[in-house]
């Protein structure tokens, strides 16, 4: 599959009074054309910061910000682009939707104004043509009475409808890449099902790639072609979705899959990963998962494992598989 986005050794660090937080620490991955890549992890693992780094939404302040790596999109390094160049790309070639649609829409602008803005700026449509296209887009995301919605303000719509509007804005200029950061987390399950169906449909129709960030393994299983699991700023495992769910290698991925209660699979006691995510200020050279890991070995306490291939379509960062690798 042809690469659309290639993130290479990306690091995003924040300097605070208490120390340096390595929110994203030397991660590399790719998103192919027409592919859905899911980044999954718990709060604080760096999945949203990864998305914001790609969108250029992390402002450099002193030594804080994106501190290293490249983000290639269509042959260009996004990190080297100027403000204006980035602006022509954002909202047209790459667009993003967020968890809280209410806080990402402007409360004092009508839906119509917000929908036509990118069309007029990026597609250079005149007022009339943009309005016509906007009505089509609202209908496309499954909202009835689109003309009436054009004149509504965000507070007049429900959360599910607002998220649809966000999607309509995001796809309005036919982006090659859609970054969706927990797009359904704030929504009810029946609405979530509608939104996920819609995203899948748009992807199939337009060959758009999706980078979906979520904490919900159920959503991952339904949407992803390829999955990346993050923990404390690092990628601990990645692989094609069926391989990863069938045969997870990293103890953290295994733990995550086992600790989620699944409809129709009753267990007496849920498996739970002991302990909690390490303090980002107190990370050492060790494997970050070592103190919660039941297979912890001596080496895990002193040295972090590299991310390496295990099998053809899967990579993991765990010393347990290192030996097998050497002999293979």
């Amino acid at each position: 599959m042809e690469n659309l986005l290639r993130v290479n050794r990306l690091s995003t660090h924040f300097h605070t009074d208490e120390g340096t937080v390595k929110a994203v620490d030397d991660i590399s991955f790719r998103v192919g054309k027409g592919e859905t890549v899911c980044i999954v992890g718990e709060s604080g693992c760096g999945k949203s910061i990864t998305a914001m780094s790609i969108m250029g939404l992390i402002q450099a302040q002193g030594a804080s910000g994106v501190t290293g790596g490249t983000i290639e999109f269509g042959g260009e390094d996004l990190l080297k682009l100027g403000k204006n160049e980035l602006r022509t790309l954002r909202g047209s070639e790459i667009s993003m939707i967020f968890q809280e649609p209410m806080s990402s829409l402007n409360p004092v602008m009508t839906i119509g104004e917000q929908l036509t803005e990118p069309l007029r700026i990026h597609r250079k449509l005149n007022r009339k043509a943009a309005a016509k296209r906007a009505v089509e887009l609202i209908a496309q995301v499954g909202i009835s009475r689109p003309e009436q919605i054009m004149d509504s303000y965000p507070h007049e719509l429900s959360g599910g409808m607002l998220q649809r509007i966000m999607i309509a804005i995001a796809i309005s200029c036919g982006p090659k890449l859609l970054i969706a950061d927990e797009p359904t987390t704030a929504l009810d399950v029946t609405i979530q099902a509608q939104i996920l169906d819609m995203l899948r449909r748009f992807k199939d129709e337009s060959e758009m790639s999706i980078m979906l960030i979520t904490h919900d393994l159920g959503v991952v299983a339904e949407m992803a072609d390829y999955v990346i699991v993050m923990y404390a700023g690092k990628i601990v495992e990645e692989g094609e979705v069926e391989v990863l769910f069938d045969d997870p290698k990293h103890p953290y991925t295994r733990g995550l899959l086992r600790s989620k209660p699944v409809l129709g699979q009753l267990q007496d006691e849920l498996y739970s990963i002991p302990g909690q995510v390490p303090d980002p200020l107190e990370l050492t050279e060790s494997c970050y998962f070592h103190d919660r890991c039941e297979f912890c070995m001596d080496i895990c306490r002193v040295k972090g494992p590299p991310l390496r291939g295990v099998g053809e379509r899967q990579k993991t960062a765990c010393w347990l598989y290192e030996e097998a690798n050497v002999h293979a």
């Binding site: 399950v189 099902a193 129709g264 009753l266 990963i273």
Partner: protein, 350 residues
Amino acid sequence: MPETENKIPAGSGAAAAANEPQKGPAPAASPEPLLEIEHLKTYFPVKSGLWGRTKAHVKAVDDISLTLRAGETFGLVGESGSGKSTVGRSIVRLTDKTAGEIRYRGQDLYAMPERELRRLRPKIQLIFQDPYSSLNPRVRIGDAIGEAMLQHGLASPDNVREQVLEVLELCGLPRYHIDRFPHEFSGGQRQRVGIARALAMNPDLIIADEPVSALDVSIQAQIINLFRKLQRERGLTYLFISHDLSVVEHLCSRIGVMYLGSMVETAPRAELFGNPLHPYTKALLSAVPVPVPKLKRERIVLQGDIPSPVNPPSGCKFHTRCPLAFDRCKAEVPEFRDMGGEHFVACHLA
């Protein structure tokens, strides 16, 4: 039990689990009713205009009846605006009911003198979704838990610290946490504090309102296991309010499904998940994403949004989104009927 039929296929593990229906939640509940709710209605006035005249009512809970038996876990599920939280709040009188009756061990909670109610309060405890906003940020958690114990005469000043330590340990918090402030805890630990505070009152009934919804998966599993452990050890009764059907299936022995203030279906766990009768329950079940990528399920995707509870649809409130709705549904409110085996449903088609 016709449990395996119609079960949502969920990969290889499902077959094995379905063969052991006894595995999982709560031991068999005793039939003694602990809490009886009869025709509960809780309305909120919608005021408008200069004089704040009541223009309409939000019927948050609109005629609900249910009985909790001692030792069972009853799951109340529904989407936002279904009124599930209002039921919980009406029981502990955080929100006053409009009509109906709520009885605890036969005593009407709303007809009781203030004094007696105060004596009863420790017995029914509430746990919230976000324990941080229900803890005073300037009070050490040991004091927060201890104060309630002293107020209700469950401890004396000499032994209160010892008792608080005991309950903290029971909830999996190390002893040295007793002198910490709420901000020093992570989300999962804070929920443990919330549980410890409820437990310190030595309650019979715990109403848990979305207690694990804000937690990460790995922490969520720890808290769910804690709930079950405490129930085993203390014989607690839970009213577990949640929107997450996977968690509810795991934890609850009986489940009620709410939609727009009304109960649409109640049934024992195996019945509800194996043989759902209401179209809304079916849609809700099929909408839950299951972490099995190979599984291609036939999904019922409901159209449209949940209507506003200020102006709910006529007849069956679900008819605007129901794929099976016909003329009668618009005109006539379906009766909540007994289908046998403790399975109740409000649908003209059932």
